[in-house]
């Protein structure tokens, strides 16, 4: 009999037909972003790859963008969702500027705004499939934070997304210290990115390093890292391998 079954409202994101309306899996993805605080501000690195599954399809994707006067956003995960986030932030900064009152949203405010957005989308089962890194300097205060697609957020002296967490963070934990010079910071980031290049199959050898300080943001031209593949262990990798059958 036709009992009063609980019906979903038409615009619900749950139920079979709604699957076409919400994010189930990512398509074009970016890999790790690594960032650290240094003497004058924040340094952030990300390669320019956009993978389509296992294919390294797009090789000129800028995964780091300036936000307002004081912040820098780097993203890994679904590139189209990153572009959507940039659109939201564009509007946010626009309205902030329209007040025209000398106040401006700093990196802390942008980070928390993003946390709210990511968490709310996760609650609706329609996440923005990204891990974000937000860094900046305002009034001499350096800020570096991260938000994941489920809304987990925190600040730290160095952060990374995806594989970066497993391969880069340990290096940073050993070698990061307060008041790194610009050169040392870049060297440290390059060390992390090189490890990721060797070990992350979605990494490509074309990266950018972005810097944000009180004065503003600059992003380097794309460049590649020197790699060395002649390690003896790599020459005949299966040499000492134990056969299984």
């Amino acid at each position: 009999m036709n009992f009063m079954a609980s019906k979903q409202p038409e615009n619900s994101l749950l139920g079979p037909e709604a699957d076409s309306q919400r994010t189930l899996y990512p398509y074009v993805t970016g890999t790790s972003v690594v960032a650290l605080k240094y003497k004058d501000g924040i340094l952030m690195a990300a390669d320019m790859g956009g993978s389509y599954g296992s294919t390294l399809r797009y090789k000129s994707v800028e995964r780091m963008k300036p936000i307002g006067k004081h912040s820098l956003l780097g993203a890994s995960g679904e590139i189209s969702d990153f572009q959507e986030i940039l659109h939201y932030l564009d509007e946010l900064i626009l309205y902030d500027n329209m007040w025209d009152d000398g106040n401006s949203l700093g990196p802390k405010e942008v980070h928390n705004y993003l946390t709210r957005v990511m968490y709310n989308r996760r609650n609706k089962f329609n996440p923005l499939w990204n891990s974000l890194v937000l860094g900046g300097v305002k009034n001499g205060q350096k800020y570096l934070g991260t938000v994941s697609m489920i809304g987990v957020n925190f600040e730290d002296n160095h952060v990374a997304t995806g594989f970066g967490n497993h391969l880069a963070r340990p290096i940073l934990r050993q070698e990061w210290h307060e008041n790194l010079s610009f050169e040392d910071g870049v060297r440290l980031l390059e060390k992390c990115m090189r490890v990721l290049l060797y070990r992350d199959r979605s990494a490509i050898n074309k990266l950018q390093i972005a810097k944000i300080t009180e004065e503003g943001m600059t992003i380097s031209q794309p460049y590649s890292l020197k790699t060395y593949w002649e390690f003896s262990a790599f020459a005949n990798p299966a040499q000492g391998a134990v056969g299984s059958w």
């Binding site: 007040w99 009152d101 000398g102 106040n103 949203l105 700093g106 802390k108 405010e109 928390n112 705004y113 709210r116 009034n139």
Partner: protein
């Protein structure tokens, strides 16, 4: 006169280009009991006169904490003031939640003014009958704003609203140039003195005035009566108040207990037994 023809609703202009209903609303502010505000570079002090309807009732609340860094003093229809304070608190807390940062006072004040303006352009609404002195701190320092029912807002170094506020304004006008560099305690003293001006001869007691402070490193809070009374006492203007208290004290001393005050002062006021 012409005034009465064009003052029926707020959406009617007068031939002279005035909205009388809005001006009447500003009158309501002038009738309310006084509120004053003054600021230095790092602190803002609000003060108001709290008259209770009768000895039996409590005083009306005229100073509201809106957030740790913002407070407001009102004059006029206190019910309207209460509702607007709730709006302000809401805006502050929503901003704090989203951005983990305090809402800049300047923005709150504009939102408040826009809200007031709406009521001057709808035929089914009336203007808010309350003037607000908004005191707050943001990145650019300490601020004091006055929001009026017309939807206008102004920033002030010092201001007074409500009945007999002109006396306070005169006092403040004489000294405002020094306020920027005043210490927090001097600012509080000046606030209390300004309130005294509005009382025009009446004794200044901490029970009829309320003082609140917000400053760098000092969240908005209302000073407790004891503290205010101590400051008042330093002015040496409560000499009259010591008179009656001293007399009762002398008689009680004979009995040796303050509790006997009631019994010892029955000089000729014993109820007549029938």
């Amino acid at each position: 006169m012409f005034r009465n023809q064009y003052d029926t609703d707020v959406t009617t202009w007068s031939p002279a280009g005035r909205l009388f209903q809005v001006e009447y609303a500003m009158e309501a502010v002038k009738q309310g009991s006084a509120a004053i505000g003054l600021r230095s570079k790092t602190h803002v002090v609000l003060g108001c006169v709290n008259k209770a309807n009768s000895e039996l009732s409590s005083h009306q609340k005229k100073i509201f904490k809106v957030d740790d860094h913002i407070g407001v003093a009102i004059a006029g229809l206190t019910a309207d003031g209460r509702v607007l304070s709730r709006y302000m608190r809401n805006e502050c807390i929503n901003y704090s939640f989203t951005y983990e940062s305090p809402l800049p006072v300047g923005r709150l004040v504009v939102q408040l003014a826009d809200k007031a303006q709406v009521c001057t352009q709808r035929s089914w609404k009336r203007p808010y009958g309350v003037g607000l002195l908004v005191a707050g701190l943001d990145e650019s320092g300490a601020h004091l704003y006055y929001n009026c029912p017309s939807g206008n807002y102004f920033e002030y170094q010092a201001f007074a609203i409500g009945s007999r506020s002109q006396a306070a304004k005169t006092y403040l006008e004489r000294r405002f140039e020094n306020f920027t560099d005043s210490s927090r305690d001097d600012l509080v003293k000046d606030a209390i003195m300004a309130i005294r001006e509005t009382l025009q001869g009446e004794t200044l007691k901490s029970s009829i005035c309320t003082i609140a402070v917000v400053g760098v490193g000092e969240p908005f809070h209302i000073l407790d009566q004891g503290t205010v009374q101590q400051i008042i006492d330093t002015f040496e203007i409560v000499a009259e108040q010591e008179g009656p208290d001293a007399a009762i004290g002398q008689e009680a001393a004979a009995e040796g207990a303050a509790a006997d005050q009631g019994g010892s002062t029955d000089e000729g006021v014993a109820p007549m037994e029938s």
